[in-house]
Each structure stands twice: as C-alpha cells, then as structure tokens.
Symmetry: C2
Subunit: 306 residues, 2 copies
C-alpha cells in the first residue's frame, strides 16, 4: 500500500491563534491539493512557542479538547477527506494542562489523541511548568498507536523523539508509521558547529527509530525565529531559531524528503507500507529481542552504589 | 579525560587461526605505536566468518576461554600496556559455544568478558546454529559494562547494535563508551541502492546509541570478500562482501573517524569523555525517562489479539 503523506512546516508569525490556525489550514489545503492523504502539522502550531518563559498568564492560550482548534481541524479533515494530525495546548482541568496531538480521519472525525509523555525543561524550553506529562487513556496502554483508515499512527511529540523506548512501544503495539510533531531550534548563542551537531543528532535519532522498527517516520518541525518574550528578566538568550528541516524517511531510515531550515509549506513523500513486512522477514529484529533481559529498562539507573 | 582509541579493521585472508591472530597483533601494534590507549578488534578476527553455512565440523574452530587466542591477546595487552578488546569463538562446554568478546587491561590481564546476547540467523548468517545466546555472568546483570583503568566499557557484539535496549542497559549501568566488534557485509546479489541503504541504516542505528545515551561509540567491522564455502549445496549466494566502514563517533553521534570499505588497519580518534557530563546537563534525557510506562518493553508483542 502506497500512501502520499505530508509534513507541514510553518512559521508562526502572529499572537492570534485564529490567524495561525488559518495559516495551518492553508498549508494543509496545499498538501491535499498535491494529493496528500495524511497530513501532519507541527507541535503547537496555533501559538508561538510560549514555553520560552514561565508565565501563569499564558495558560490562557490553552483550550479544552473540544475547543475551537479541534472543531476547526475536524471540519477541515472532513472537507478534504484526509487523515490529519494537529496539535493543541490542552486544558483538561484547572491545573491539568497537556501538550496534545489530535488525529482526525475524514468523515469519521476525531479518532484519537496523544498527550506528550516526555516533557522537557531546560533554558528556553520551560515545558514542565505548562504541561502535565501524559498518562494512559482509559482502555489504552502508554504509547498506543491510533487506528485510522490509512493504518495505525504511532503519534509521539517532540521530546519523545529522543527516546527509543517510546518508538519501540508504539511499534510493539502495531504502529504502521511513526509521527513526530515538533518544535525544536537553536540557541543563537551556540556555535555553528554545535548547532550542526544538534540538528544532525536530531535527524539521526529519529531515523534510527525507522531503522530499529522498520517503520516510516514523518517529522514536522516549526521554522522561523521567535524572540524571547522578556529577555531583560532572564539569563536566557535572545530567542529560539527553529531549525525547520522537517523530513520524511522510509523503513531503513532513508530520506524520502527533507525541507530546508527556512521553508514554509507542506513537504510531500510517498510511503510504501509493504516494505515493513519485507524488511522484517530478512532483518527479524523483533524475533530476537532479549525480553528476558530487559527488566532494567524500567529502572532510573542501575549502578549498585547509586 | 581525553582518550586515544582505535578500531582495527581486518581482512581475514587465511584458514589458519594463528596467522590471522598474528595479523590482528600487527595491526594492534600499529595502533599502539600511533598512541592508542584502547584498541578494539573486530568480531571473530581469528577466523573466516564461518557462519555462512551450518557445518558441525566447524565447531573445531572454537577454543576455551583460557585458550591460545586469549593467552596471545592478554600477553599483547601487557606488552603494549593498552586496553584491548578481542573476540573469540568460545567453547564453554560440549554443546555450549558462544560468540565472546574479551577485555584485557595492560598488566591487569583479563578484566571481563561479554557473550553476544542477540544472535542473528538469516541466509549467510547461520549464527543460531553455532552460538548459544549470552546469559548473565555470576554477580553481574545483563549488558553490564566492564571496568577498566580507562573507564567502563559497554562491550556489545554485532547484532546487538540494532537494539536500542542493549545500548540503554549498558548506559544505565554506567558505561563510558559503547563498543561494537562486528562482522557485517553485503550479499553481492543486492542492488547498489539496497547495499547503500543497509550500510547507512547500520551507521544510523549505532550513531543513535551515541545520541540517546551521550556516549562515544567505537565500531570495528571486517573487510574483504569471503566466499561461501559450499555454494553448490545452497540457494545462498556466492559469499559476503564485508563492508568495512569501521567508525568512531562522539557523544552527539558526530563522526570522529571513518574507514573506507576496503581499508585494512587501525582507525584512530580522540574521545573527550568529559563531554558526556556536559551534554547530560543540557539534554537531560535520563531525567525524563518514563520508567512508569516502559513495562511493555519486556513483551514480545503487545497487540491484544496477538
């Protein structure tokens, strides 16, 4: 089965969520016009990357699962008859907010959600302030893929991409494709060499999930510079330069399409899902996993004195 | 702490184990002369890659842990005052044979062994016939690194390289460096495009272990074409073209050194072990692992109906 898929790379230029959502919609429409059956939007595409600072007022950006962004995206997926992966800052309850991906499937509407499990917290990425780590949904295990008419989507979000555990658990639950809506960029104070190493590490780790699990991977990252909102108050630098470079790779980690750093728009590729079966026959990693010896993966650290 | 390390890429040209061991020694001496403090030999460097076929007579190639190869390598490490990683076809008992890496530390002699845990079995790589999968050593957990005067070596062997679980467990037990003695090559019947994808997948997955764990990685692979011993009897192709390309990468997966396909010799690089600490502060993946949600990694498969 060959699928035409798209990752949408967007520059968020406005403080107005509705305006940003309209840009997202426009780019999704472009992708659909080019034949995309599955379209992936980047992480938090309706807002600036507000997590550069800790500000209680910014919780106002959140909306409930059934809020305007969901309604808008659901309608769009129905109209275009596509599978669409969107991303919202979700208010689940007072004091419980999530970084949540939504999966819509044409006329069927919302098919599932994924609440980001691994939450970063480092200078410029204050996500632990805003996002409660994802918990498992009722009747669903952690990292369960979402069933759609195009296959089971292993939707994970941004920092999850650095964890082979997340990709593997999604694969073990039958994912057909791994999907990473993302917001990652450089600190402009880092050297070009360090920036290059970071971006290369980021492509390597995500391509490795393709290799280890024989699954295609779709990554949608944001682009553009976003200024730090209150630079005077902080030791943090001037802002984040999101590095774009959204990409789509096949089941051996081979690049099928890759965007430039500053491009805005849909990036398209064709995935041949039948390659997973062919590759798993001749490179049967799943057959040989030493599940008798992996218990330690549930530990924080394993050095006896620690 | 900056370490000078070497991966030795060797073409095994003889059926005579002693002759091959002398070649290994010569290449280790070259590495030491160039200042290497830690030298890694490839998988099964004293023999042809005999696993292309199932032949009970070939168990004669095995030797006990305290056999001639161990004695030879131990003496060499003492003489050169280096840490040396060698590889043998180990006879542990009648009917129990292993693919075993040995770690020597200068005057201290043998410091530890690692018996390959993940055993391949596919056309041309009939390892399940020869090798009993590694079990844990007394007083040691699976994938425990080996303590040497230069740090804790996370020694894994060949197929282990495709398993993020193995690298992670070694890292969680305090490994300072990941090491992969390897014997991997192409089926000459595959297309150049497929060969390229395979080799690229192999570098991606091993570089990803560096990225995910912030550890340097040393990979020693064999080179040269080895003919299938009895082509007339089998549907298998003419032999294996070992693809060389031994490499050493730093803690972000960045290449420090990479050999050509057909080179024979030591490949050297300098590792700055202090980078691990610096990287783990600003990209603290270990802090955020969702150990509450990783239980499924101990399962073969997780789809309810399977």
């Amino acid at each position: 089965m060959v699928l035409k898929v798209a990752a949408v790379q967007q520059q968020v230029s406005s403080a107005d969520k509705l305006l940003n959502l309209q840009t997202s919609s426009e780019l999704v429409r472009q992708a659909a016009t080019q034949g995309a059956q599955l379209v992936v939007l980047q992480e938090l595409h309706t807002t600036h990357y507000f997590c550069q600072t800790q500000d209680p007022a910014l919780f106002d950006l959140a909306e409930p699962l059934d809020g305007p962004a969901r309604q808008h995206l659901e309608q769009l997926a129905k109209e275009l008859n596509i599978v669409l992966v969107g991303s919202i800052f979700e208010k689940r309850a007072e004091g419980i907010y999530h970084n949540t991906a939504l999966v819509f499937d044409g006329q069927a509407g919302l098919k599932g959600i994924y609440r980001k499990m691994h939450i970063p917290d480092d200078p410029g990425f204050c996500e632990k302030f805003y996002f409660t780590p994802g918990d498992s949904l009722p009747n669903s295990a952690a990292f369960a893929p979402i069933q759609t008419s195009l296959g089971r989507l292993g939707v994970l979000v941004c920092l999850d991409q650095w964890y082979p555990e997340a990709a593997r658990l999604s694969a073990l639950q039958g994912a057909d494709i791994l999907i990473y809506p993302t917001a990652i960029g450089w600190d402009p104070a880092d050297s070009p060499q360090e920036q290059q190493r970071q971006r290369e590490a980021w492509t390597i780790i995500q391509r490795s999930h393709a290799v280890a699990n024989h699954l295609p991977v779709i990554v949608a990252n944001r682009t553009g510079f976003e200024k730090y909102p209150n630079a005077a108050k902080s030791a943090h630098n001037s802002g984040i330069e999101f590095w774009g470079q959204s990409f789509i790779c096949g089941q051996q980690g081979e690049f099928l399409a890759i965007a430039q750093t500053n491009d805005q728009g849909p990036l398209l590729a064709e995935l041949d899902l039948s390659r997973t079966s062919r590759l798993r026959r001749i490179w049967p990693y799943f057959r040989d996993r030493r599940i008798d010896s992996y218990k330690g993966l549930q530990s924080r650290y394993l050095v006896a004195k620690s």
